[in-house]
């Protein structure tokens, strides 16, 4: 019976035949094309991040307009996973087995990527520069085909601790974290820096994503007598925390995960004046920061936006993020020098040396090595002034662990 699958197989076979004849072994790579796969939440609760995928589609169109890479055009295939891990698995299998992509680039979501981690590593498909800050993507020993991009939550926590010890060597720390992979990365990062002192100076309290409020947690942390607070939780709870901490008259030195620093969804709901002095971190240039009005890197990004995504929201930080991560990928493909086997792509992904990326803060470089799968390990701190986040101090490096 002729159904869709047999038809697809037959077509795929017919299309693949000439490539096989030239002994081209990497799926998705022909003399004229490289196929790249991606999943994104274009629908569902995280659909705001869909602009990252949208940016990539236009970015690769720009690359193709400029002649492609090593004589090949990029065919970027991106599917909606609705931010639902089972769907990510389904779409990833479709990308790998039907579309036969050469590798996966920048799929979004910690849970989504966790769901496909085993599959891609078993099949040895490069799984490059994921859109998630979990630390586990840097585990080059167990998952050598997976590599992250942005600074991990663990690195971020290390940076806050370095700053805290410098400011208040005798600090007592209260750590509020969401009880999942995301929140626990911060606990690990704090432990990396404090080591054996952890138990004597840190009071940790967790909350569940299903908890209606964190009031009880704030009461516990405040009554522990801590003078520093690190809040590692998602936007809604971060806003609740900032408000409650101010209302109970607790005035700790407050570090806040950069996952929850949106002005519109965290700082304003919490009350902008309540958050004054809160410290967080950054690694990307903020498109709304007037300091970058004449910055060469940001001008490059703005030129891209103007030509390819003229209706894109220039305030949406997802666009500079996407531009930065796609630029990093282009460096990898360039370094491959025409050898696009999966091994070669992975080798070059782990061989980036001090790469300057247009949308990263000055002094923050991308570095990878066979034993370093954490491409970005530096951040700069910034403080809430009541209206904006203001960067201060130099770039701080995470701990070497």
């Amino acid at each position: 019976m002729l159904n869709r699958r047999t038809l697809l197989t037959a077509t795929a076979g017919a299309l693949a035949a000439p490539a096989v004849a030239r002994a081209q072994e990497t799926p998705g790579v022909t003399a004229s094309e490289i196929r790249i796969g991606n999943t994104m939440p274009y629908s569902g609760p995280a659909s705001a991040y869909g602009s990252i995928g949208r940016s990539h589609q236009h970015f690769f169109r720009m690359i193709n307009d400029q002649g492609g890479i090593a004589g090949r055009k990029i065919n970027f295939i991106t599917y909606d996973d609705g931010y639902s891990p089972p769907k990510t698995v389904e779409q990833t299998r479709r990308l790998v087995e039907q579309d036969k992509v050469a590798f996966l680039f920048n799929p979004l979501g910690t849970a989504s990527n966790s769901a496909i981690l085993r599959y891609v590593n078993q099949r040895k498909v490069p799984h490059l520069f994921l859109s998630t800050g979990a630390d586990k993507w840097g585990n080059y020993q167990d998952t050598p085909w997976t590599i992250g991009w942005q600074p991990s939550y663990r690195t971020e926590a290390q940076i806050y601790m370095k700053h805290m010890l410098e400011q208040r060597p005798n600090a007592k720390l209260a750590l509020l974290y969401q009880n999942d992979d995301f929140g626990k990365d911060y606990v690990t990062g704090v432990r990396d820096i404090l080591g054996s002192r952890f138990d004597s100076i840190v009071r940790t309290v967790s909350h569940e994503a299903t908890d209606p409020t964190i009031d009880s947690q704030v009461v516990s942390l405040q009554s522990s007598g801590a003078d520093v607070l690190l809040t590692a939780t998602t936007p809604k709870f971060a806003a609740q925390t900032i408000r409650r901490v101010a209302d109970v008259g607790w005035k700790p030195l407050h570090y806040l995960t950069n996952v929850s620093i949106s002005v519109g969804t965290v700082m304003e709901p919490a009350g902008p004046e309540r958050g004054i002095g809160i410290i967080t971190s950054a690694y990307l240039k903020d498109p709304t920061d007037p300091g970058w009005a004449n910055d060469a890197g940001m001008n490059q990004w703005r030129a891209f936006m103007q030509k390819y995504i003229p209706d894109g929201d220039m305030k949406d930080g997802s666009f500079p993020f996407a531009f930065g991560v796609a630029s990093t990928l282009m460096q990898v493909l360039k370094q491959c020098e025409g050898n696009f086997s999966r091994e070669s792509i992975m080798r070059q992904a782990a061989n980036i040396k001090a790469l300057e990326v247009p949308t990263l803060l000055p002094g923050i470089l991308v570095n990878t090595a066979p034993d370093n799968f954490h491409p970005i390990r530096h951040m700069q701190l910034q403080k809430w002034s009541g209206t904006t986040w203001e960067r201060f101090g130099g770039v701080i490096e995470g701990a070497k662990v």
Binding site: G44, A48, E208, T210, D211, P212, V219, Q240, G249, T265
Partner: protein, 290 residues
Amino acid sequence: MDGFAHQIIAGIATGGIYASVALALVMIYQATHHVNFAQGEMATLSTFIAWSMVEAGIPYWLAFLGTVVVSFIIGVLVERLLMRPVQNAPVLTHVGVFIGLLLIVGNMTGWIFGYTTKVFPSPFASSGPLMGGLVSAHELGSTAVTLVVLILVFLFFRYTSLGLAMRAAAYNPRSARLVGIRVGWMLALGWGLAAAIGAVAGMMVAPVVFLDPTMMTGILLYAFAGALIGGIDNPLGAVIGGFAVGVLENLAGAYVVGTELKLTVALAIIIGVLVVRPSGLLGRVVTSRV
């Protein structure tokens, strides 16, 4: 010891939230003898409707009233369009409809209004934090609103003939029909009232926990535990139960089982009550002859 007292105060404040949602659960149970799993999602949708009105510049109390009316109509429509066709179907079918409703309403809310956290205004002027910042003027105000709703519900069921007819329709539809009560409309009315009370609860909760489409997901479980402690058919019991769960949850989370198991405490309460005293503390024991 200071921390202990603060945990109790914070627990009472959170308990007020549970109490208002528990009241909506009791309402629909009294009117239909079902527990509507989509109650929370429907209340969230109502709150978003109120939010849109306030954003459009309508004064708060007018928006409040408008939302209650719109929610009442939505509740009636849901009963007429979705529940009525399956009214004689087994309980499992109803559960299926409730869960479907939960998913549809929840996702529809996200689709229409987006998933980003929104600020919902409070009608109670903030005179600054009270009781060491643990209770806000809004939390006191919303507790007062919950108590007012409680009294209204009590008076309605106890002293009006419509309330009596509704109770009759829920307890014994056949006999009710024989004495001339329009059972179908009584059920629809019950849904409408429950949706309206849910809307009030949503509008009281949103300023505290911030408004997003998943606002009620966690709250509903605690509210359910509260309603069961008090007795699922007793409004006063539900309110007391709500406050009790708020305090118990905080104390257990802070001193006994740890914050990881706070939700488990609510589930344990639900199971415990169902096993030991299914009618709750204030509920009536109903025996039916078969």
